[in-house]
Subunit: 356 residues, 2 copies
DNA sequence: GCCGCTCGTCGAAGCGCTTCGACACCGGAA
DNA sequence: TTCCGGTGTCGAAGCGCTTCGACGAGCGGC
């Protein structure tokens, strides 16, 4: 089965005891009849190599199924070709979007020949310090940034570049990307106002999200309110729970106090279904009596019945942009501090001219 | 600003010219007045170190804020202390559960002092080969295994250990963990049968999921059917779409053909809401006329109205178990080939004795 | 008082890669 | 012809860490 015990101590000279599956750059060099450094240059392209040599080396690489050792490469080049993605630990509501962000980050990173190390927010600042100091990653993408996030000062101090998805209260010296949620709030109101609605309401994130100081929730609300004021539309905003029954109660209360409410903006994936179920139960048809606009991933909006007029959260695009920015920073290129993605409103079946 | 050029060659003793943020083990050793190897042994505990020396070294480590370089460590020790987590690329339906799995894997891995490299399934077998061959990871956790998965043969061939979440058709020589979905299907029927229901139906995953050969869907269906036959309950099973309108149509059809249907098992997170919305619309009250059992994450079941009797998918537990198994394999311990987690049925408000 | 331990520590040899300086060779300019 | 600047390739020096063998010191047993 295995070598006799005395074997390793014994003097039997050469016999490269390589553990079989380990093909090194030296093996490739030997096989191709060139120096190790030549193989390295073929791979990195950092020096000119003649076409003949190059193709001989590449052939050997393929033949031996050589894959550079990541640790060795990272050690020698001081580049790990790995970026960190920090996800919120939180399970629940926003989860499907999160996944879209993550997927976009991973696929984009791969396109730049980088891998992604997944961290959860529960390790907090200490976790960031750890992976940065250990040179495990070259840069960091941080999701779900809060307005007053204790990781932000650390990020500023770190020698490794980072990109935030979302905006903290003070984004000085940081690179941030996000949907322009303020504008998104405005766009929703503008759409409803254009349809003649005179009283609208925003059903936002759950109370906890506002309390946590999550930027996108606050910003959407601000945009919503600002546009309503500007357009002379009566507006109110409320946090919105995610349990079916609670959503129904909230809506019932809303409609009792403001029977003439005819426009609703929902910014809460989990609440979208319940809202659409509750309205008919409360005697309001969508869109004949009440128009509904959602701020949520497109797939949610499409699957609902009726399909929802919505401002999609461009998770895919945001994740992609975050990685591109990070890669640019890694190569020393200057990048803009703030990248605000413009919201687009897609009209579907859930909005119609105001009744009456 | 910096040391004069001749400095390093010249004899001027200490004064490490290191690029500021890089504290190495040599710095620690010098500071503590011991050999580099001693510091290493303090950190790894692989040799006895006197209490005095140990605490002196630890003090220096803390003082200098030393973090071992991951690449160097991986190179020398042939252990990266990183595991790979391969997620399905697919966005949509099962996503929230996925996230729970991922979170559990990451937090558990951290408990074992490992980090997690995130891969998406779209890199396929080539991606697995790449990270395994580059020694980037010590082991692999693969999610969303299909019955005839082309990555499975590769996994068998790889020198690095792996654990699958889910079971392929032939799990020989593999380590797999999952909820016992066959038993889960049975448990649902048993519950309904015990309540006196004589005709039941399973609304499963979307057609595409069955076609893809996804184990859990097939196994749940098999268990469901087997238990129904055994208990003399009339049963049928159907794939289930995820769009609200389509779900409604499916249910209408089902109830038209079998007006005496009084028990429903739903194995599709996205369909749960629509089903609960459609039944009243079709003149069926839950649970008075129709009892509903869901196979879905607990949080979904709790938030529905009425709260759903359910067999939760133990994502947290499964992820945790997968990592523990992998860690055991990494240390050479033997582990069971198959780990089937027993389903637990939680009774809530959506099931009641059969009408009549 | 010597032997043979174990315990605690050290020095040095790599791990597999990148990168720097050196250098041989070639063709064109002087 | 000599000199020169490219090109293409090589050898060697690390990158920061782990680990192996060596070895001095202390100690109980004979």
């Amino acid at each position: 089965m295995s070598a006799p015990p005395g074997d390793r101590a014994a003097g039997s000279p050469t016999r490269p005891v390589k553990s079989a599956d380990l093909v090194t750059i030296a093996d490739v060099a030997r096989h191709a009849g060139v120096a190790v450094s030549t193989v390295s240059y073929v791979l990195s392209g950092k020096r000119a190599i003649s076409a003949a040599t190059r193709s001989r080396v590449l052939a050997s690489i393929r033949l031996l199924d050589y894959h550079p050792n990541a640790g060795a490469r990272a050690l020698a080049s001081r580049r790990a070709n790995v970026i960190a993605l920090v996800l919120p630990l939180r399970t629940g509501a926003q989860v499907p979007v999160l996944m879209q962000y993550a997927t976009a980050v991973v696929t984009t990173a791969r396109r730049y020949d980088h891998d992604v190390l997944l961290l959860t927010a529960d390790e907090g600042a200490a976790g960031l310090r750890r992976i940065a100091a250990s040179a495990m990653v070259d840069g960091i993408v941080l999701m779900d940034v809060e307005m007053h996030d204790n990781r932000v000062p650390l990020l500023r101090a770190l020698t490794r570049p980072s990109v935030l998805i979302g905006f903290p209260a003070d984004p000085t010296d940081l690179t941030c990307v996000d949907l322009d949620f303020h504008r998104a709030g405005e766009v929703c109101v503008e759409h409803l106002a254009a349809l003649g609605h005179r009283r609208v309401a925003l059903l936002g994130a759950p109370t906890a999200v506002y309390d946590r100081g999550t930027g996108f929730a606050h910003r959407t609300r601000a945009g919503f309110t600002a546009a309503a004021t500007r357009l002379g539309v009566a507006a109110e905003t409320r946090p919105c729970p995610e349990e079916v029954a609670a959503v129904r109660d909230e809506l019932a209360d809303l409609l009792t106090r403001s029977p003439d409410l005819s426009g609703l903006v929902v910014q809460n994936e989990a609440a979208v279904g319940p809202v659409l179920a509750a309205l008919p139960a409360l005697g309001r048809r969508v869109p004949e009596d009440v128009s509904v606009v959602a701020v949520c991933p497109d797939q949610f909006a499409e699957r609902a019945s009726p399909a929802l007029t919505s401002v999609p959260v461009p998770a895919e695009e945001t994740g992609r942009e975050a990685v591109s920015l990070l890669m640019r920073k890694l190569t020393g290129e200057p990048v803009p501090d703030a990248t605000l993605l413009a919201p687009r409103l897609t009209v579907r079946g859930s909005t119609a001219p105001a009744p009456g």
